[in-house]
Symmetry: C2
Subunit: 364 residues, 2 copies
Amino acid sequence: VNLRIPGPTTVPVEVAQAGATEMINHRGPEFAALIARTTEGVKKVYQTQNDVLTLTASGSGAMESAVVNFTAPGDHSLVVSIGNFGDRFANLVKIYGGVLTKQEYEGGQAADLNKIEDALKADPQIRTVFITHNETSTGVTNPVLPELAALVHAHDALVVVDAISSLSSIEVDTDGWGLDVVLSGSQKGWMVAPGLAFASVNERAWARAEETASKQPRFYFDLKRHKDSLANGQTPWTPAVSLFFQLDKALEMMFAEGLEGIYARHRRIGNMVRDGVRGMGLELLADEGVESDTVTAFWLPDGINGSQVSKIAREKYGTVFAGGQGNLTGKIMRFGHLGAMTDEDIQAGLDALKSAFADAGFKG
Amino acid sequence: VNLRIPGPTTVPVEVAQAGATEMINHRGPEFAALIARTTEGVKKVYQTQNDVLTLTASGSGAMESAVVNFTAPGDHSLVVSIGNFGDRFANLVKIYGGVLTKQEYEGGQAADLNKIEDALKADPQIRTVFITHNETSTGVTNPVLPELAALVHAHDALVVVDAISSLSSIEVDTDGWGLDVVLSGSQKGWMVAPGLAFASVNERAWARAEETASKQPRFYFDLKRHKDSLANGQTPWTPAVSLFFQLDKALEMMFAEGLEGIYARHRRIGNMVRDGVRGMGLELLADEGVESDTVTAFWLPDGINGSQVSKIAREKYGTVFAGGQGNLTGKIMRFGHLGAMTDEDIQAGLDALKSAFADAGFKG
């Protein structure tokens, strides 16, 4: 089966096999060496000198960790939502007692720096800004990150970035852009099975975590505990050791290809998918210029049932696409093109998509 | 390297290899079939008809889930602690705003049903009782579980059991004993790499979860969300798919051996370890009659440095033992004997232990 969904992505055979390495003691010297090595590698991909903590959880766990470590009940937060995963931040902020300003965009639109500034001016009490770098549900990459931190810091707030489906496929210059907290997850461009999530934390964010410590309960996702344990080559709770083995191998493969090469490949295959989908007569969800290089969302034409197309693609052509999420369910389909993927894989995916659409009655 | 620690345990080659199975869509029919099968298998081992939810987290995450789903701030809880993992429940109850009665026992002692009843009578407001079935830090199995639920229910409270290091190695009759919530973790007797945790929940506990929903914030560990997703063959957040593959294979191996056979084997190798350790002139921590069949803790004799013994065992004899935790650090050592372990493995472990002690200057 060919996975053309925006995660979990195909795990290369070498990476999958690395996960079968003989189990080790998570409190011994072998694990200490392993987590030191993977942390160093992940920091390199993040382009950061900040602490990077590895959680045994999926990306949603990392999102929860950001909310429970960097906000306290009653704190004002701005969530910039361009889709389903932005909505998840908004949901988390409300659940954990925050006072929420939610700035919403139409599906396919990117965030606007001026509107973010307006929101910050409208509520000077906003202390944290949550934003999605690459919105998996709409296939949009927010272009505002390089300028965002300076703006947010001028209002004395923190910026927390969900880079789960971009980091390792699309460049994120954590330190160059001054991002306080950046999240990612193993099952995306990292080419690792799901179950590990990452959070980078800078000094400004640690100061906030110290301030919220007595106000916001946290335990499993307490990032300070992870930082303290990491100093001893450990994690506070038993880590998903086999996924660390996979990550170690995947990082080795990534550095062999080179980060610039990986980003260039994702730009190229992103273009291939967009050209291919448009060539079929389908319309992209994303506005021009902000299309994601890891996932492409397109509208279902009138009279075409997306579930049927997906079923045909899976059963007849061995290729798995994703449907819409939230209010886009039944209206769009999504083609994931991140991680271990070649031009040939993309061409095969486009061929399968075209055939499945034709079988479902689409005249193009 | 031979792991003789109480988890992560040795992952059999067939199980490790199953984890390298080609990645699948976690929202597709293959995963739905997989989680249906593993859930059925885990329920069989639990001996329960209750819901069993599988979390992508380590056992500590399952412990947090019990506290945030079944207690609200201000609720009175009794934690029966016979060691480090009982203390973890107490810590969690305090962090999440509970009013805590902590009943502590000396290291090596088991809980006493009469004392638990005294504590329930002393505070009629106690609504939840937390207890460790098998205390990994001291090598003690609490014998009170079969009678406990009736006692706790008579006081209109819930009982939550940490069976992380017992379930699948030592019998836990969840429904027969009337246990409301029971927790376990993949990296113990289940023979799977770390990263999955289980929680069984009965009707009584679900009613409590509904009651606390508006009072206790929760998201990643919200068990109701897991229950709702499971009805659709999914998990609310991306699951650790490769560990589900491993679990599927491990359950197949467990049922091939038979649960009675597994329990008998653990009783036999537990006896072997105890006889072997005592035969070396070492003294067990556990009181007679409550020794654990999954982990044996023993006192370090005067003048013997446990870290040195462990280092020699690891480097010279390729065998990894565990040290003490919490206030037992430096005072005891621990020999794990759970999961994929034969009589020959145990004998080899005892030989390595004896040699390492001799090398460290122990005269016996």
